[in-house]
């Protein structure tokens, strides 16, 4: 064997090549690329200010990778498995830097058959974005009202659960788009026997590890590196996504077919779309998620680019 990367054992949810449909591979790549770009921007800025940040973040990334493949004892099942590790990394180096570190780790893990190259975007989203940001948000929310070990532990627990729920959602969106909620439930239930005990173990591991570090070398626990604008944008994004998801779920519980949000978006975004027009044709060819992702990216880029100019203009009035 030529590669010197350590072997990974245990069971974890890295989606392999060949499972997701091509349009979903592209969709998750597009979403992850935005976060990766933001992460790289933050890292480059920190390296320019303080060049020691490069070896520091790389070495801490290497350690978090090693921790994420260490076999930890799992309660109830009596077996062992390896943790997600991204909530711990997010607490140490910030969630955006964690996206970069986890995408590098996932790229190399793909070569030992944990994950894949075409599913790198999907896996980066579930582990490096959903897991890291979810866990980090919980950590920040609980930090002021509970002990450090508990907030870190809850970050580990929720990060692990969010990662597996996101993976299950990715599978159901791609494989069974006609009945997403039903299959999301089935895939999530399938993962529970291994992943729930693992999340409990991750709670204890992350909590104790952060407690140990805060007692021995507190300066390792760094800041997020996120500015105010990004923070507010992230909160707004999470809020809107939560409202849409909750609305869809309530609709599903009332016997709806989950098409309500789709219809609303179509009605609001393109009320006068010509059925045979190029936009509709392109969406039919590449799938609706790609089309709406393209619209979202274009709109977001223009808004972000002219944000300051618009804001200054509004303040004059």
């Amino acid at each position: 064997m030529k590669s010197s990367l350590i072997d990974l054992g245990g069971f974890s949810i890295h989606i392999s090549d060949g499972i997701l449909e091509p349009q979903w591979c592209l969709f998750w790549f597009a979403i992850s690329a935005i976060f990766l770009g933001l992460g790289l921007r933050i890292i480059n800025k920190r390296i320019r200010d303080d060049p020691i940040y490069l070896p520091r973040i790389s070495l801490i990334g290497a350690v978090v990778f090693v921790i994420s493949v260490l076999h930890i004892p799992v309660p109830v099942t009596g077996s062992s498995s390896h943790p997600v590790g991204t909530p711990l990394a997010a607490i140490l180096i910030g969630p955006f830097a964690t996206v970069v570190i986890s995408s590098i780790a996932l790229f190399f893990q793909a070569f030992v058959a944990h994950g894949g190259l075409t599913t790198l975007g999907a896996n980066t989203f579930s582990m490096g974005i959903a897991g890291a940001f979810g866990g980090y948000s919980i950590y920040r929310m609980l930090k002021k009202i509970s002990p450090l070990w508990f907030s870190a532990g809850m970050a580990g627990f929720s990060g692990s659960i969010i990662t597996y729920l996101t993976s299950a959602l990715q599978l159901s969106l791609s494989l069974n788009p006609e009945n997403v909620m039903y299959y999301w439930k089935i895939y999530s239930l399938g993962f529970i026997p291994t992943q729930l005990p693992l999340a409990i173990a991750e709670f204890a591991l992350t909590g104790y590890a952060i407690k140990y570090i805060s007692e021995t070398k507190a300066e390792v626990i760094g800041s997020s590196g996120i500015d105010r604008f990004t923070k507010i944008a992230m909160i707004a994004m999470l809020l809107i996504v939560s409202i849409i998801a909750m609305g869809a779920y309530i609709g599903h519980l009332r016997g709806g077919n989950m098409a309500g949000v789709d219809g609303t978006v179509e009605w609001a975004a393109a009320p006068e779309a010509v059925p045979g027009g190029i936009g509709v044709e392109l969406m039919a060819r590449f799938g609706e998620p790609i089309g709406f992702a393209f619209v979202g990216i274009t709109g977001g880029l223009i808004t972000g680019y002219f944000w300051k100019a618009w804001w200054k203009g509004w303040r004059k009035y």
Partner: protein, 260 residues
């Protein structure tokens, strides 16, 4: 005009273009091999071919092409005598693909297949088998790539694919220190085990494991300062290692020529 020539031309055009482009690429690879001391395919080309092959497998709608690719990979694995490593690595994707096969077979479709106590759906079974064969084929390709290419070769080829320098620098650091920290973690764990550190309750075990993790992180933090000092003493600056300018030989030559 023969009848078969006057039908839908798309498949014929695609086949012809694919064949001739592949032929030109094949000739180019053979020429590169003769220039590169007998290396069959250069690592960068190997990475691109594997990626394209995996994309092709992902797009396939029939199970027999992925199955043929899997068999082909198995033959190479047997020739390389690395069957044990291959089986060890393919277990995880195999479990995930089996899980998806089971979910699809039991829940998706309308045409039932009655197997006595078990009832399957033919549409689900078909889709599950297709996914299963795709996973098997693409994973086999990746495992083969892993077995024949080192990380440094991969990083060098990623540089030629214009991956950002900071990602390459971080990747090279990570590749180097993952092995070091992995060995250190193993040493710490065996030291704890020899002192009965991993006996007793779950809380005790996890506390000891967490202290190993914490220790590894604080060590990484301290070591990064030493690494940085060592890098500076060797004339390092951000972006130096994988700078595209530094790796262009013609720039250096042209400067020399100008001087003479």
């Amino acid at each position: 005009m023969p009848d078969w020539l006057m039908r839908d031309p798309l498949n014929g055009i695609v086949l012809t273009i694919a064949f001739f482009i592949a032929m030109m690429v094949g000739r180019y690879l053979r020429e590169r091999r003769s220039r590169a001391d007998g290396i069959l395919i250069e690592p960068g080309t190997r990475l691109i071919i594997s990626f394209l092959l995996i994309i092709a497998v992902t797009l396939m709608e029939n199970w027999y092409f992925p199955a043929a690719i899997s068999v082909f990979c198995m033959v190479i694995v047997l020739r390389l005598k690395v069957l044990r490593d291959y089986i060890k690595k393919i277990i995880f994707p195999f479990v995930l693909a089996s899980f998806i096969l089971a979910v699809q077979s039991f829940t998706y479709g309308v045409n039932e297949i009655d197997l006595g106590t078990i009832r399957l759906y033919s549409e689900g079974l078909e889709r599950g088998l297709l996914i299963f064969s795709k996973v098997f084929a693409s994973t086999s390709i990746l495992i083969l790539l892993n077995m024949t290419t080192s990380e440094s070769d991969l990083l060098t080829s990623m540089h030629s694919l214009r991956v950002p320098g900071v990602i390459l620098e971080m990747s090279s650091f990570m590749c180097r220190y993952i092995k070091t920290f992995s060995d250190e973690g193993r040493t710490l764990k065996s030291a704890q085990e020899s002192r009965c550190g991993f006996s007793g309750s779950f809380t005790n075990k996890i506390k000891n494991m967490a202290s190993i993790c914490g220790l590894l992180i604080t060590r990484a933090f301290s070591r990064s300062e030493e690494v940085y000092r060592a890098m500076l003493s060797r004339g390092w600056k951000p972006g130096l290692q994988f700078s595209s300018n530094a790796m262009k030989p013609h720039r250096y030559e042209s400067n020399n020529n100008r001087r003479t």
